[in-house]
């Protein structure tokens, strides 16, 4: 068991103006899950890009695979050496069949000119059987659920004889049941002596799957420990360099009048008989499993896909919102969950992204924008959300995943809506920034906004909400004040 599969040292990566990695090291053994942890921008994804041959490290890096020194010039080199990455977007060919996605690699690698579909089918079937998952090899990947697409990506790695699989925040798009299934697969891969490098911001998950942790902070190596020799608090302290306690903010403020009243809202195939109220100055947490219909309710209220029946009142006025523009006019803002596709203009700067929805407020009568005013507002948001690096001229696509999420949040929060709906606001955000975001949501409530937070993370719901609404399979199963509620009580309502 002490054999090492991969060992790296002296690895640095410099981007213009940023040292994303500074002399880090890492090693992993067969049959082990080694988690790489650290705050947003710590350099986790950058290291993954280096190990998968997508980006070269700076001069002087030392990479040993099974004791032999190696370099990757191209992603193919890494795959040939047995390192496969499950990317967050899975990097699959969604227009092709499951079988081809899993089985074609061998043909490419052997530089064959002619394709044998029989061999591809067999390869795919073997890999799916190995993982013990039931997916039709002839299905087009586009038509599969996210969880199944992930399984296909893993099967594809297996089919390429991977000895090490890297997973970068693999559970962020999965429902709880699917997450359990993924854990099972990880256990299975471990049993079969696969080395697994795992990146996540979720503490419970990290402790569930990992054998060892390596911590990075701001591109620097902090340390490596066995998972059973460290507590959650100690790990967090290693990550952020200070202690963070999870606060409970419930019921600190006086509630105002009702600003949003939803009655018997239904949409076929999405949700049924949804009724609730939002008061000015309160934070209401919507929880339940992924796929319980929470996002669909929010999208109906916001007009992205309106409900079939039911009544929505903003204040005393009954409204019929047919599209997001009308919703914004009524003072409702919605921050969707997926940061990559909805909400960021990747080739634009942080400053432009944050101020996009409110450029008008910085303009004078002639429509000319006051740069100074704009920049000072931007600086404020960057500071408040701890966006790193705190350089407003940085392009959104150069940011780490978690920092992109912060920029999306800043962009919409700054519109100062009366009713703010946020969907999984801290998905992919590190533990320190999470608390910052919670504070901001609370501050907004204090200033009179009604905030609806959708989250599958119970600690987050318990920390930030005044009231908790639980949904299951398209219906509300419980509404409770957040005083003596426990995680177990909520889970029960969400599950059965």
């Amino acid at each position: 068991m002490d054999r090492v599969f991969l060992e790296i040292s002296n690895v640095s990566k410099t981007f213009p103006g940023v040292k994303a990695l500074d002399n880090v090291r890492f090693d992993i053994r067969p049959g082990e899950v080694h988690a790489l942890v650290g705050e947003n921008g710590a350099g986790k994804s950058t290291l993954i890009k280096i190990l998968s041959g997508v980006q070269p490290p700076d001069e002087g890096a030392k990479i040993l695979i099974e004791g032999k020194e190696t370099q990757f010039a191209h992603p193919i080199d890494a795959i040939k050496k047995g390192i496969s990455v499950i990317y967050q977007d899975f990097a699959l060919f969604t227009n092709l069949t499951v079988a081809e996605n899993i089985g074609i690699n061998e043909t490419i690698e052997q530089k064959k000119k002619v394709v044998s579909w029989r061999a591809i089918q067999k390869k795919a079937k073997d890999a799916l059987d190995f993982l013990n998952v039931q997916i039709d090899p002839n299905a087009i990947v586009e038509n599969l659920s996210v969880a199944k697409q992930q399984m296909v990506a893993i099967a594809s790695a297996v089919a390429q004889d991977a000895k090490m699989i890297i997973m970068d925040e693999p559970t962020s798009a999965l429902s709880r049941g699917e997450v359990e299934r993924l854990y099972e697969i990880i256990d299975l891969l471990k049993e079969k002596n696969m080395a697994i490098m795992f990146v996540s911001h979720k503490m419970d998950e990290l402790f569930r799957v990992s054998d060892r942790f390596t911590v990075f902070r701001d591109g620097q190596y902090v340390g490596t420990t066995d998972a059973d020799k460290i507590t959650e608090e100690e790990l967090i302290a290693m990550m952020v360099g200070r202690k963070i306690e999870v606060k409970r903010y419930a019921n600190l403020e006086e509630k105002g009048e009702v600003v949003l009243r939803v009655e018997n809202l239904s949409k076929k195939g999405n949700f049924k008989d949804i009724s609730f109220e939002l008061h000015a100055g309160e934070v209401v947490g919507f929880t339940g499993l992924v796929g319980a219909g929470r996002s669909e309710v929010a999208q109906a209220i916001f007009g992205i896909s309106p409900a079939d029946s039911g009544v929505v009142r903003v204040g005393d006025e009954e409204v019929h919102i047919a599209n997001p523009a009308q919703a914004l006019e009524k003072g409702i803002a919605y921050i969707p969950e997926s940061r990559q596709t909805q909400g960021l203009v990747l080739p634009k700067t942080i400053a432009d992204n944050i101020t996009l929805p409110l450029l008008r407020t910085f303009a004078n009568k002639l429509g000319i924008i006051n740069r100074e005013k704009q920049m000072s507002a931007v600086d404020e948001w960057i500071k408040m959300l701890d966006v790193r690096p705190n350089d407003p001229t940085m392009l959104a696509m150069q940011l780490s995943g978690g920092n992109q999420q912060k920029v999306v949040l800043a962009k919409w929060i700054s519109t100062k809506a009366r009713i703010l709906i946020v969907d999984e606001p801290t998905n992919g955000v590190d533990i320190g920034a999470k608390d910052e975001i919670h504070k901001i949501l609370r501050q907004l409530a204090k200033d009179g906004t009604a905030v609806m937070v959708i989250s599958s993370e119970l600690p987050e719901i318990l920390s930030v909400s005044d009231r908790i609404v639980v949904m299951r399979r398209g219906r509300i199963t419980a509404q409770m004040d957040n005083d003596a509620v426990t995680q177990e009580a909520i889970m029960q309502k969400a599950l059965v």
Partner: protein, 336 residues
């Protein structure tokens, strides 16, 4: 069984086939001459030119590109061959066909290099080569027709296969349709059974992943433009074998018809999707529409208007469909 039916109704091909059948029935009611073997051979022969080019366009579209220069390539090849045959009346058909295909391939190679080496977007690159080549050819020929092809060449174009009695005559399948069928089979084999073919689908589906898994994206991209050019060259031969002379002006603007055939046949202008079978249905559909417009006596200007509308509608429906599919909400099992 239910599943098979579901797949069938979902597939684009079936709906295209249905449209063809409905149109054919309508036109036959107005003009009974439409549904005869001899008419079918006639319309397919004249549309084989577009069909061959559409089969060349198909891989380009699947790879996520577009080739607007097929109109200039076919004109260039036709003129080169015309001049060659005038100068060498003692040559033979194999040389003539090869010459056209090589010239077409070279034109395609230029497009491929512009796209892969200079990173010019395909729509710009191929529009550029189209404009330049077309202008050069028109300048060189003065827009004048070229005629006086050798007899051995012309008689090759009249070859027919088989003898089928139809409407009082005996007709055979024209050689031009054989060209079309052979090109169809070749394209199908390439797309389905070669790594290059699968690479075309991969590049059109997700360029980044294609690079990651080791496809040579530049090579794939260059190949599709060369293939499209080569088939435009073959289409030039096919054309001269039908009309027996060369008009350097007839093909300007034909690239849109060619793209329309492929898209009507289910290929997506956004890449990743398309089949040879679908493209064949697209060819037949296009041929039926064109012939139908003539048979029901729509004036030639209005025919252009109708074709334009069809092209616009098919391409926008394709784009909109893809968008809707992307935006579709996840389905939640609501407890009743």
């Amino acid at each position: 069984m239910q599943k098979v039916w579901k797949n069938l109704t979902k597939s684009k091909e079936i709906s295209i086939l249905a449209i063809i059948v409905v149109l054919a029935v309508c036109i036959t009611i107005v003009n009974p001459n439409f549904l005869t073997v001899s008419n079918f051979f006639d319309i397919m022969r004249s549309n084989s030119i577009y069909g061959i080019m559409a089969l060349g366009m198909l891989p380009v579209l699947i790879s996520g590109g577009i080739d607007l220069s097929v109109s200039s390539t076919i004109t260039l090849c036709a003129v080169v061959m015309g001049k060659f045959l005038q100068a060498n009346p003692g040559s033979n058909i194999v040389v003539a066909i090869l010459l056209c295909m090589v010239v077409g391939a070279l034109a395609g190679l230029v497009n491929g290099l512009l796209v892969t080496k200079f990173h010019i977007p395909p729509i710009v690159a191929t529009l550029g080569t189209q404009t330049i080549v077309m202008a050069a050819v028109l300048f060189y020929t003065n827009g004048m027709w070229i005629s006086g092809m050798p007899d051995w060449f012309l008689s090759f174009g009249d070859i027919q296969f088989g003898a089928i009695p139809s409407a009082g005559k005996v007709v055979g399948m024209p050689i031009q349709i054989l060209f079309l069928i052979l090109v169809g089979i070749a394209t199908w084999l390439i797309l389905k059974y070669t790594l290059m073919g699968r690479g075309i689908y991969a590049v059109g589906g997700n360029v980044q992943s294609a690079t990651r898994v080791g496809y040579n994206v530049s090579r794939v991209t260059t190949f599709v433009y060369i293939y499209s050019g080569t088939l435009a060259g073959l289409a030039a031969v096919t054309d001269i074998l039908i009309v027996k002379q060369i008009d350097p002006n007839t093909f300007s603007g034909c690239e849109l018809d060619v793209i329309a055939i492929a898209v009507l046949g289910g290929a997506s202008v956004m890449g990743g999707i398309g089949t040879v079978f679908g493209t064949f249905l697209g060819i037949i559909l296009m041929a039926v529409i064109k012939n139908g417009l003539v048979l029901v006596r729509v004036s030639s200007y209005w025919q252009k208007v109708v074709m334009g509308i069809i092209i616009l509608v098919t391409i926008s429906v394709d784009v909109i469909n893809r968008r809707i599919e992307k935006a579709r909400l996840v389905h939640v099992d609501v407890e009743e």
